[in-house]
Symmetry: C2
Subunit: 410 residues, 2 copies
């Protein structure tokens, strides 16, 4: 199930200079019939920045990737689906290091230059025998790199119904930049502990410092504004890697090139994030929740997610039931800042539902019903507190969500 | 649907000296076929304490009841189901005041001595014409008080499948105390904005100051430790009223009588709270989540509810799927205090699942599966941070929950 989301065409997902990858089936889940192992090789000029889950039970690969990022420039990304290597204690770290050591000999790189990412079920050790075997089989003689980048997106899918990838070319002054992003997740905040992963590759020329700035600005306005079920996973990771092979003048400050690049990357990351929501587990609706005139982006996140994560609001979305009082109640439960309930306006698409904290005089239940019967609609909440406006994306809560998550391991 | 919850027998729910009530059908919902209006008359010696929802969009009756409580000793409680009178702005307050004014003339009491409570759908004005008519019909000539207290519990039901009431007699030194409590809610934190309401009546002799202490201590360890879906309603209210007709020495300090009384009231409030969870919307399981060795009761609440409100954990409960990594992840998302993940132990009934933050060596998936297939089980989380231990009660998240909430207004 997904809401107005088409599988990207193979021809539309383009390679990025400086990056190559291979995928194979490592049988991470014993009965896996699809490629579940992905290795990305980054050129030696590539600079990489990443952000990780804030879940305190973060997975072994997250711990190791964070450590390695501080040590040395990454040269390999190694990503498996089917097992999150989380809740596995020190043994989980030992396993991830063993894989890195093996790959370092195959690819002739420093083991600390390998960043691991895992996604799948948690509280289960990695099947090390099968993974080792698969690496030996696929990386020993001449390594066969894939040519179609859509296959990278396919290798990291778990409960996703559609591979998520997007390519875009844009200009920094007069120099063309190639950029491709892939992501997985049927919820960023995330169903099945299957986790959200996102990777964007581009050839732009940028300093490490500016890349680190950029990733935080991008993630805060894109992936951090989506939610399926409010459950932040143990493995969420988002990474941007720049091969620095493009001809643009190296970006060293927050200059106009930086602004241009940020705009483009926000567009790409935003589209990947939107794909995750459109493919949210059990989603029958795609809902935009615009929070207007908050004091800052944190208030947008808090208010938007208070609505987007309320089971009562989500079931009303599912039923196309304009039981919009549930939205008032969800807003009223925010304790992080003091909402003035007498100021709040709420619009459904372009029609007022609530004005100054109470039912709008112009409110028409039949119009609201019609709006909510569509597969997509927008709620707009005006907090009248400040000048920050942004949009949280979410789905409804359907029978199918329960089915997927109740039967995940069977 | 409810989990091991029987309808109380009429004979077991006893009147309390100093209190009488009447119920009638005011057609708050136009097609209502059951009594939906309840008026409690309190004797003139009765002292009353109440706590209300912290939702900032609190309903008109909550605003008015809070105000009136500060003014004068309550003599009437007026409770309707079927409409929450919330999100109704100033008109909602005006309506509630009109009802109070009408009742004040019927019962010959000060209008400020009347506390209103409403429960039901929000963002809809009260049907004042029908309510006024019903009050005139039922309270004009000789008022017919009900004799069976179970009828009070029945009048406040919304999506409840079973009326919730309990009576108990206990001694304060050698003096017998009568106590009856009623509650409604299929979720305290609460499905359908149908809200949780709880009322306990007793004849104990206690000062106003001590009663106010008591209610906070009781609610913090009972109603505040339950959750169905994490949605705190606009109308939640809990009240204790003492008619002071019993012969016990008046409780003026936190002496041994106070401790005895608190123990008994915690028992009664705890059982009412448990009934709400057992009758939680769509509940197929009743789950106790014991949080051990927290620093204080707030940490118990935060940790217990992080687990109890996670859709992923709840769907695993529903499926009897020991996908217990989801519990780790839910705990890892707590940001309010610093959990040391390397200390955490988790038990399912009496068996370790997690020890020191990772899979227990003795863990057996088949045993866990068996435990979770039961209608009731207990999770015990040892935080190893302090000395406070308490238990949060919750339900699973089933297809039926979605059905009830998606079809609430149809």
């Amino acid at each position: 199930m997904s809401v107005n989301l088409k599988k990207p065409l193979k021809k539309d997902i383009l390679p990025v200079p400086g990056f190559s990858f291979l995928t194979f089936n490592a049988k991470v889940k014993e009965k896996s019939k699809k490629n579940d192992f992905l290795i990305f090789e980054l050129n030696d000029k590539a600079l990489t920045a990443a952000v990780f889950t804030k879940n305190k039970f973060c997975a072994a690969p997250v711990i190791l990737a964070k450590q390695n990022l501080t040590k040395i420039n990454p040269r390999l990304l190694v990503i498996n689906s089917g097992n999150a290597n989380a809740g596995t204690g020190k043994n989980g770290i030992v396993d991830a290091k063993k894989i890195n050591l093996l790959l370092s000999s195959k690819f002739n790189v420093n083991p600390n230059s390998i960043l691991p990412f895992s996604t799948g079920v948690i509280l289960q050790p990695l099947p090390m025998r099968r993974i080792t075997q698969a690496i030996n089989d696929n990386c020993s003689k001449q390594i066969k790199y894939n040519s179609h980048w859509i296959e990278a997106a396919q290798a990291i899918m778990t409960t996703d119904t559609i591979p998520k990838a997007i390519s875009q070319k844009f200009f920094l002054s007069k120099h063309e930049i190639s950029c491709t992003g892939i992501a997985k997740g049927s919820g960023m905040i995330n169903p099945n502990m299957a986790t959200m992963l996102g990777f964007i590759f581009l050839d732009a020329n940028i300093s490490k410092k500016m890349l680190n700035c950029l990733i935080h600005e991008v993630v805060e306005r894109t992936f951090n504004l989506i939610t399926v079920d409010g459950d932040t996973s143990t493995n969420d990771s988002f990474l941007i890697s720049c091969s620095n092979l493009a001809k643009n003048k190296r970006i060293e400050t927050k200059n106009s090139l930086y602004i241009q690049l940020r705009k483009n990357l926000m567009g790409i990351a935003g589209k990947l994030a939107e794909m995750i929501i459109r493919d949210g587990e059990g989603a029958t609706k795609f809902i935009k929740i615009e929070i207007k005139n908050a004091k800052n982006i944190d208030e947008v996140k808090i208010a938007g997610k208070a609505i987007a994560n309320s089971p009562l609001v989500k079931t009303a979305f599912f039923a196309s039931d304009p039981n919009l009082g549930r939205i008032l109640s969800a807003l009223g439960n925010i304790s992080a800042f003091n909402i003035n309930t007498n100021l709040i306006d709420i619009k459904l698409n372009n029609n007022f539902v609530v004005q100054k904290g109470k039912i709008a005089l112009s409110y028409s239940e039949s119009k609201a019903l019609k709006a909510m019967k569509a597969k997509e609609f927008m709620l707009s909440i005006n907090l009248k507190r400040g000048k920050t406006t942004a949009t949280v994306l979410t789905t409804d809560l359907s029978y199918e969500y329960i089915k997927i998550n109740a039967e995940y391991r069977t």
